[in-house]
């Protein structure tokens, strides 16, 4: 599936290197996210800029990834393309996650 991770200060940035997060890769994505975030900062930003499509299974995997972080850590999303943003908006998951237009926007925002 392909995730890479860097940490800047108090924020871990995880970049998705796949053009899709869909049913075919949802389980792998969830496992990879668990491995990447099993220890780390309280705030994780998932960079979705390269993701051109997501379905409800992919959405579920991102929700599961946030649950894995527990109540004291936070998952924010950066750079969603219009189709990705649409799936979040239609399901009202845009009220659950903070979506930032760009990674820079996410990094200049505070954790809360």
């Amino acid at each position: 599936m392909g995730l890479t991770s860097t940490t800047t200060g108090v924020t871990q940035i995880i970049t998705v290197h796949s053009d899709r997060i869909d049913a075919a890769m949802a389980i792998q994505f969830k496992e990879d996210m668990r491995r990447e975030t099993d220890s780390g900062t309280d705030r994780v930003v998932l960079d979705l800029a390269g993701v051109e499509f997501i379905d409800s299974s992919g959405l579920g995997a991102i929700v599961a990834s946030m649950k894995q972080l527990g109540d004291n850590r936070k998952l924010d999303l950066a750079g969603p393309q219009p189709v990705v943003e649409k799936v979040f908006r239609l399901t009202r998951m845009d009220t659950v996650f903070r979506l930032f237009a760009t990674l820079d926007d996410a990094l200049s925002a505070t954790a809360d």
């Binding site: 075919a24 890769m25 499509f53 409800s56 579920g60 946030m66 649950k67 399901t91 659950v96």
Partner: protein, 149 residues
């Protein structure tokens, strides 16, 4: 400037596995855009198409050997009709679920990780029809885009 003068047809058949479905959805979406599906509708069509095809893979062929998913798209000037057929198990009650959305007004650990598929299909289509005929499921999705032309 409308490139569509007559109905255009696009057909694709693939084995009902997650990997094949993923590639098939991509191929259909690209093909529809190439044939003149309005850009403003392409994301919505792709989302609904993906959910409907994933339902076949995950539910119609659950517990039985997966056969094929057959998708036929007819694109007209002001609408798109997509027929998805398979030889899997029928929809429960022989009709498409209402697709009430899972609530997100809940605690973190209770957030839904699924149950959005039919809701998205209902939200994004103009009409949904289902029939079970001769051992086949036939799901028809219609997308009107008259308001765009």
């Amino acid at each position: 400037m409308n490139p569509i003068s007559n109905k255009t047809c696009l057909e694709l058949s693939f084995p009902a596995t997650e990997t094949e479905a993923s590639a098939g959805i991509e191929q259909l979406s690209t093909g529809l855009s190439d044939q003149g599906l309005p850009v403003k509708k392409s994301d919505e069509v792709k989302i609904a198409l993906a959910e409907a095809i994933n339902n076949v893979v995950e539910h119609a062929y659950a517990g039985i050997a997966p056969a094929k998913v057959q998708v036929t798209c007819r694109l007209d000037r002001d609408r798109l009709d997509i027929l998805i057929s398979d030889t899997g198990n029928p929809l429960p009650g022989l009709h498409p679920p209402d697709g009430a959305p899972a609530s997100v007004d809940t605690t973190l650990q209770d957030l839904p990780e699924g149950g959005f598929g039919w809701y998205l299909i209902h939200e994004l289509t103009s009409d949904i029809r289902y029939e079970r005929r001769k051992g086949c499921n036939r799901l028809s999705l219609r997308f009107d885009f008259a308001e765009l032309s």
